[in-house]
Amino acid sequence: MPSPNWGLISRPKLLGIYNSMVSINYATREVTCKIVYYGPGLSGKTTNLIYVHEKVPSSTKGKLISLATEADRTLYFDFLPINIGQVNGFTAKFQLYTVPGQVYYNATRKLVLRGVDGLVFVADSQADKMDENIESLTNLKENLAEYGYDYKNFPIVIQYNKRDLPGAMTVEDLEAKLNPEKWKSFEGEAVKGTGVFDTLKMIIKLVLAKAQTSDSNKSQKLSSTAEAPQPETSSTPSQPVAPVVAPDMEAPEPSASEVEPAPIAAKADPVTVDNPELTREEVYRPEIRQEPGLVDLPDEKENVSNSTDKIKRIQQEVPEMEPVSASNRPFPGSSTAGLSRRERRITVSDFQPTASAPESETHTEQIPDENQEIKNIETNMPKPIMAPSTRVVTKKRGFFKRLFGIK
């Protein structure tokens, strides 16, 4: 396998570290949750968002952003922020994302799943779309596993969309095939809006409930999450054999098991930090007291007296940047070695009126700025004067000689 090295580098950051949790900002007093609509292509994920965007009061919603192709297929994601306002002194915000449904967009789909708090799986109820539903669902489980989430304990709601279409299967059949985990499910017609809000309300409630339980079990969770990734990763290498989704899936997994200790070690650190009983204030306040002084004083010094410092720094920075461009130069550089030869040729070829014209054009592109103007003049001048002069003069001489009868 050619690529496991790349997997080695990138995978450990993705593995096991991420657990479902909302983001809480105590400074702005905001709680933010990320909810992703998942499902096969054309199942109505974006339509769900559009309906929500249309119907929700304008004070609570932001702009609906859609990164779509010209044919209105989602290319990267759709994004709709919703702000339900103050709840117990905190502003509750929900960010709704959709993923591109097509199979070959798995790379971008996986990116959108990063840091997800809750999932809505939008399934297409039509009988002939069942295979796509199942494929998308297995893909979802794989992608979740790669981020270290356990789909069995993840807040997921299923929406059986397109109930109005004639080829729709019965809910019982859909449940049997798609929902063995017994997630909450809703029937929907996203175009008309049926079931859209029910689905959204349910997933938000599940996400908040999950956040609640994960907070109360924080200490337990720490130990459980440290152990949890191990069985997952040991099981994942066996998974990609069965589903044939993307070739790049195979590369990361073996590396994942190799580099497994890294995230655990990262997790072990805060536990050790717990033991010396330093309260947060003891640990962080001294820094805060120091920080404003550290921030302000050198800043003023710089502005008042050490303006030369700035210049020095910039001068230091500039040579730092130049070698980068110089190191990028090997290709142009190798051509500049050839350029000097060509320059010499110019002077020779200038006197050969027929050959000079096409070559001089290529030279002017590569010659450094200082010489460029001179060369432009040089190359421009000879062409009109030299070329016609050599030819015309001979003719003229012949012409005048003939005219005046000079021999």
Binding site: W6, I9, S10, I17, Y18, N19, S20, M21, V22, S23, I24, N25, Y26, A27, T28, K34, K55, P57, T60, G62, I65, L67, F77, F79, P81, I84, G85, V87, N88, A92, Q95, Y97, T108, L111, G115, G193, L200, K201, I204, K205, L208, A209, A211, Q212, D215, K218, K267, D269, P270, D274, R280, Y284, R285, E287, I288, E291, V295, D299, I314, E317
Partner: protein
């Protein structure tokens, strides 16, 4: 990182804001955003009133994520600095720590070199702040309580009506 939860306290935001403010002043840039890789806006400084920072944060995080995947395909683990050049306004993004992105928006009053210089400095400082934030003992992170979830549930019924 003890958990995936991003919980930030006021004093930490103040620290981050101070570093960003200092950087903006030095580089003479328009504004700076601190964005989580998940797409959440952490904080912002400078002239951001005319910007839809929520959407901006989500999109910037998205573009950063996609370049990370590009980097992986090329054999690089991650591109730590991104630069978008426009006609008037330009955007400089740099990675801070493991999971945050510092975004600086600037125009032709300053130069990319200045922004790079100060952004590099600020990123190193912010890296320390985020490290201390990540190593914070888990018990100190109170999360959502029961009341919040239930009263949020009540609000949902008011807002989401067909």
């Amino acid at each position: 990182m003890s958990d995936d939860n991003l919980i930030i306290y006021e004093e930490e935001i103040e620290k981050i804001d101070a570093v960003l403010g200092k950087m903006l002043k030095g580089a003479e840039a328009k504004c700076a955003l601190m964005v989580d890789k998940d797409g959440h806006l952490i904080t912002r400084q400078g002239f951001t009133h005319s910007l839809d920072t929520t959407a901006l944060a989500a999109l910037l995080a998205g573009s950063f994520a996609s370049t990370k995947e590009i980097a992986r395909l090329v054999g690089e683990s991650e591109f730590s600095v991104l630069f978008h050049q426009g006609k008037k306004d330009h955007i400089h993004m740099s990675l801070v720590g493991d999971r945050s992105i510092m975004v600086v928006i600037f125009d032709d009053r300053t130069t990319i070199g200045m922004v790079r210089l100060y952004a590099k400095e600020a990123a190193a400082e912010l890296g320390k702040v985020f490290e201390s934030l990540a190593n914070r003992p888990a018990e100190d992170n109170p999360g959502i309580d029961n009341e919040f979830a239930s009263s949020a549930g009540d609000r949902l019924d008011d807002i989401f009506q067909d």
